[in-house]
Amino acid sequence: MDTREDIMTKLHLTRRGVIKAGAATGAGLAMPTIFVKGAAAYTNEPKGSEVVFGFNVPQTGAYADEGADELRAYKLAVEHINGEGDGGMLNTFSSKALKGNGVLGKKVTYVTGDTQTKSDAARASARSMIEKDGAIMITGGSSSGVAIAVQSLCQEAGVIFMAALTHSNDTTGKDKKKHGFRHFFNAYMSGAALGPVLAEAYGKDRRAYHLTADYTWGYTQEASMKYFTEKEGWETVATVRTPLGAGDFSSYIAPVLNSGADVLILNHYGRDMVNSLTQAVQFGLRDKIVNGKQFEIVVPLYSRLMAQGAGDAVKGIFGSQNWNWQLQKDDAASRAFVKSFGEKYGFPPSQAAHVAYVQTILYADAVERAGSFHPCAVIEALEGYKFDGLGNGPVEYRAADHQCFKDVLVVRGNENPTSQYDLLEVYAKTPRAKVEYAPDNEFFAGGALGECNPGK
């Protein structure tokens, strides 16, 4: 380390820094004057009256619509932080640090980028936000791969990453980072929340067949579901890996009935889930009686857009969600959010929009409470932070792994939807205590947060 620093001093290079000698040279010249960026204490320290957030969401590719919904929510959050609009969940948020005058008096502006749901493109986009636009915080994500890739980039660059949609255990497990924070729930929590509900609804004597997307997220989802259903007494007949984007799942679905299984668990997301569920229903699986029981299908992770894609096929099918706008029935915060989002855009927000909004507010609030944009101070303010009034009831950002802990929703496909927005209905809330785990739980072991890195 020492030698490296020596070399850098000699060359007047600092990490992402400034040539200090340039100032002297510049001052000596009459014109044109060379202004040197003032020495910063940390990466992209905001100097003027504005501060830049980076919204890095999928705008092209399979998750473009989810990205669009996230972006809507980000814009709404920025409005509320800057004191425009009706304030949304700022009115219900347990912290009152944000005053509607931006963050630390600086007006929030934002830049947007396209992750294309590819780790590469997502990092390119995030790097351009950091290097070119001076973003102080990056938020977004559409898949766990992207979220983990961008999270480690932010760690290296010294900015904060507020993950939006990422469900893999690894994000706050073996790939956790000091600079990364996840509000969204994870595969383990889905399993923990669904296990007991499924056992209650379908009985403890069930035989499950897993179809699993053949990549990292699929593996963690499968492991979690297997663990928690077996804990309830279910037997796992088989787990089969399906190629990403297979399109036609018939050759995977057809053997299910004859395998002795009476439940099919689809560890798929996005288009894979839409297609595999549609096709499983088309096979008539749910009309069959196997082992003397009605055959059932389970989709551990739901999103509203996926439900819309699958249409009628979701009716009566269990899954889990981070948040659902129908919570507004008995939650004032959700009501406030649905109102301000719905009035601006004309339809209720999805869980993607919710997590995007909440993460932005949480970051801004942490800065305000810390009194500084310095990433180390912000991290300190977020770690172990307990809050309420953002739609999920009481929530804690656990210091050990930067994962939010809260109640998890079990949802079910609505048998009689009134519109394309209530295809899913809230079935049960599994309390936080039941989905919580120790930081060194086997599903999350390995990896370390590392140290706070102010960059420069």
Binding site: R15, V18, P32, Y110, T112
Partner: protein, 404 residues
């Protein structure tokens, strides 16, 4: 050094070198707080991508432009190069030299194996063979090879990696994830100057990649003008004549295939050196298709074309996708309210989430109006300028006579 090159080639090389070295200045024409700052491309990440994808496309063009063999699986070599580089970072040292060398070596071996099989066929049969190999690599890297490639997330560096050499020399950082460096100069070290509101960023990573780009360009230039290059063009024009002239085309095409594979490996290694993460998407057919498009768009078989094509695509991908309604409103703020909204509505389908649309339209326009690719466009502008200036000299871009 310039022995054997004519004046036009030397001039071309010098212009390319000058532009490359001055890129941080040239690509930043707009003040940072102006509405047009969006179009600045002079930040490290994008400049690095320009030169790295330039290397990739130059190498691809050595195969496609000279021999006419259209590989639809070249991204596999880029991906393999990236994985090799990251593994070197993890196992040996954060120094980029072993990583880049390993990337080139592994990609070379990989392309030797694939080329040896695929070159048994010509035309579209060859294209499909290369495509099949690349898609297999991608599918496996994304799924069952996850232990080696870290699948969906991509291979990353972690604090606990062995990094044998770094530990032996005591340069291994223990408290945080290290960054690739060139004997102590970290790739993400950047010096920035502010000058009349323009922020110029000089990054170590960019200059490291740029030097390798210039070397790659120079080597390609010589290769184009070499007897070897002539034989490759012979393969493209009339393979059977070549056989009856006493030349076995196979070793030539295989050599061209491996050279372009090594170029791709170098590009992949550099991508990993600039940003130490290797994702499987780098090997997908869309990535292979992208380098084909870069080459055709710029001008097949010309020296400069593929570089222009690479720059064109990467520029529009990175710049257009970041333009959002907020920025559009800024641009058209000078118009009356109704007009402003109308203009924003008109333009917004082409930027932000619609950047693909613009790119598609541009592809069609270029291929319809500039059959020779962007290089032809430059030549036309050059000729026009020459005529305007009224001097009889040939314009610079005419030098790019690379062949076919």
């Amino acid at each position: 050094m310039f022995k054997g090159l004519d004046r036009n080639d030397i001039r071309l090389m010098l212009v390319v070198a000058l532009v490359t070295l001055a890129a941080p200045l040239i690509l930043n024409p707009f003040p940072a707080d102006s509405a047009w700052a969006q179009f600045n491309a002079g930040y490290p990440d994008l400049m690095q991508r320009f030169v790295i994808y330039g290397i990739f496309a130059i190498g691809f063009n050595i195969l496609f432009g000279l021999t006419g063999y259209l590989s639809f699986g070249h991204a596999a070599f880029l991906g393999v190069g990236s994985y090799a580089a990251v593994w070197m970072f993890k196992l040996l040292s954060m120094n980029v030299v072993p990583a880049v060398l390993a990337a080139m070596a592994i990609a070379g071996l990989f392309s030797l194996a694939i080329g040896w099989i695929s070159l048994r066929r010509t035309g579209i049969y060859f294209s499909i063979l290369t495509l099949a190999f690349a898609q297999m690599s991608y599918n496996l890297a994304y799924s069952v090879l996850t232990p080696i490639t870290n699948g969906e997330t991509g291979l990353q560096i972690s604090i606990n990696d062995p990094r044998v050499l770094d530990r032996a020399f005591g340069t291994a950082a223990s408290d945080s994830v290290p960054y690739p460096d060139f004997f102590g100069l970290q790739m993400n070290d950047t010096a920035s100057f502010e000058f009349f509101g323009r922020v110029f960023q000089f990054s170590v990573g960019y200059y490291f990649a740029a030097m390798l780009f210039l070397a790659a360009f120079y080597l390609a230039l010589r290769l184009f003008r070499s007897p070897f290059g002539l034989m490759l063009r012979g393969v493209k024009t009339n393979q059977s004549r070549l056989e009856y002239t006493g030349i076995n085309p196979r070793p030539y095409t295989l050599a061209a295939f491996v050279i372009s594979g090594v170029y791709a490996g170098l590009a992949g290694g550099l991508l990993a050196a600039m940003d130490p993460l290797a994702g499987a998407e780098r090997m997908q057919w869309t990535a292979s298709g992208e380098v084909v498009l870069m080459t055709i768009l710029g001008g097949v078989g010309t020296l400069l074309g593929p570089v222009l094509g690479a720059g064109f695509i990467k520029y529009f991908e990175n710049i257009l996708s970041k333009i959002n309604d907020q920025i559009l409103h800024q641009w058209f703020a000078f118009l009356p309210d109704g007009m402003e909204d109308f203009m924003v509505t008109l333009v917004s389908p082409f930027v932000g989430k619609g950047w693909h649309l613009t790119l598609g339209v541009l592809f069609m326009l270029v291929v319809i109006f500039l059959p020779g690719g962007l290089v032809e466009g430059f030549q036309r502008i050059g000729r026009l300028l020459a005529r305007l200036v009224g001097r009889g000299r040939k314009p610079v871009s005419d030098d790019d006579k690379g062949g076919a």
